[in-house]
């Protein structure tokens, strides 16, 4: 469904992606692992059109994404949950959610449905719905960022290090959400440094190093033999 072929990208002069090829099929959870600075976040940003693509192609459901502006991606079904969460701090929780709800083609009933669904997954958001986004704790902001993406009813969510900086209890909640999304048929491209979580949630994994994909295997294979992971992510 989402295919990156030989993707190259530059930050100014710095050549940060040297031919990345990744594929996510409909409904799949695919993991993207690697140490800091290898280009995982850059890959997601390249899909979102936020980084200069200097080679290769990205197609989504057969359609070439070259020339599609960033604000056109949501309508195609691509949602992004960035590493820093990027909650609209001065908007309330509900207003944050509304940035995804106020789309053409959604009647009021459907909007309420989506809102209810997200409140069921994240009861704390219902409680805090009139609070400014900036007053939420780190974990709550992460919930909100994911909920906000769910408002777009996406076909795929680009999830960037959702467990970073979270306490173990919250990490479990994230794991639950990833499962729930998967059950709903939403595909996920999960960038993470948390290996056990990714091994458990994903069906296939790519491992990146220095701007390229170095290894690609099924989660089952990697669970059985973790040496490759140690080699690329350990010390």
């Amino acid at each position: 469904m989402l295919v990156l072929e030989n993707l190259n990208a530059h930050y100014g002069k710095s050549h940060v992606l040297h031919g990345v090829s990744v594929e996510v099929r409909a409904g799949e959870v695919v993991g993207l692992l690697g140490r800091n600075g290898v280009g995982k976040t850059t890959t997601l940003k390249a899909i979102m059109g936020l980084v200069r693509r200097t080679g290769g192609r990205i197609t989504f459901e057969g359609r070439d994404l070259t020339g599609v502006p960033t604000h056109g991606l949501a309508a195609l079904g691509i949602a992004w949950v960035p590493e820093e969460r990027r909650i609209f701090r001065l908007l309330t929780v509900l207003e944050n959610l509304r940035t995804g709800l106020d789309r053409p083609g959604l009647d009021e009933r459907k909007r309420q449905e989506l809102l209810e669904k997200v409140y069921r997954h994240f009861p704390v958001l219902r409680e805090r719905r009139n609070q400014a986004g900036g007053t939420l704790s780190g974990g709550e902001q992460q919930m909100l960022a994911i909920a906000r993406a769910m408002m777009l009813e996406p076909k795929i969510i680009l999830l960037d290090e959702p467990t970073e900086g979270l306490m173990p209890r919250m990490v479990s909640q994230i794991r639950e959400i990833v499962h729930a999304l998967h059950r709903d048929g939403v595909a996920i491209l999960l960038v993470e440094q948390n290996v056990p979580l990714t091994l458990e949630a994903a069906e296939r994994l790519y491992i990146m190093e220095k701007g390229v994909v170095r290894h690609h295997a099924s989660a089952a294979a990697l669970r059985a033999d973790q040496r490759v992971i140690h080699e690329y992510l350990g010390v």
Partner: protein
Amino acid sequence: MDQIVIQTINGLVNGMVLAVVASGLTLIFGIMDIVNFAHGDLMMLGAFVGATVLGITGNFWLALFVAAIVIAMLGVLLQVTTLRPLIGRDPLTTILATFGISLVLQKYALWQWGPTVRKISEPVSGQFALFHLQYPWYRVATAILAGLIIGGLWLFLKYGKYGIWIRATTQDRVMAQAMGIPVPLVHTAVFAIGSAMAAASGVLFGPFAGVTQTMGSDFTLRAFIVVVVGGMGNLGGSILAAIFVSLIEAYAALVVSPAQAVIVSFVVLVLTMLFRPTGLFVPTPK
């Protein structure tokens, strides 16, 4: 004592008009980082268009409405043709562009309407006795109208369907795009709103001093001072700062000549930059 009350009212009235101008300016800056040097000239053109419509129809409110619409459209034209292509470039480029637009607009006005001062007559005539003075009702009406405009803007931003789009885009342009908000369209819309507000303030201010090609320049400068003092991009701050600066000027005019009282706003600017550069009315960042 009565002098002080009179000046307080004057300060508030002037402050409210300035607030409408400054709100548009700060909204534009806050959302797209454009320092709009032509803002006062949009006000000036609004006043001219208003004067013309008033001359034809004799209806002040129609003049106000038409001026706002026409200048909004002008704003859209300017933003789409001149400013949108400059996005992402060095900020100096947009400053030069808006400065250039300002010159063009002023000369256009001169060409179109000639050098004579135009009159906009007050829609609300009559005065009331304020101490030893006869104070025009119109001035009070202006303040109220300005307040309504600002109130309308605030309500729209807070509760309106597209208000959320504007506020989200102001806070995080990139994330807004990721959520499917058509940011280029939002930018154009905000520029249109800012222009319309400038035009409205031009028509409102018209009866105070007559309509000339240079009336905008005074306001642009004062509006910038207000925007900086209030905290750039901070709507509430600009409004408070506009009133604050106008009040201080009004009080200063009791002691020195009104021409000299203008210096007061510059002094406030310098002090703000020295001691609270993020703005006087901005909560201290945590």
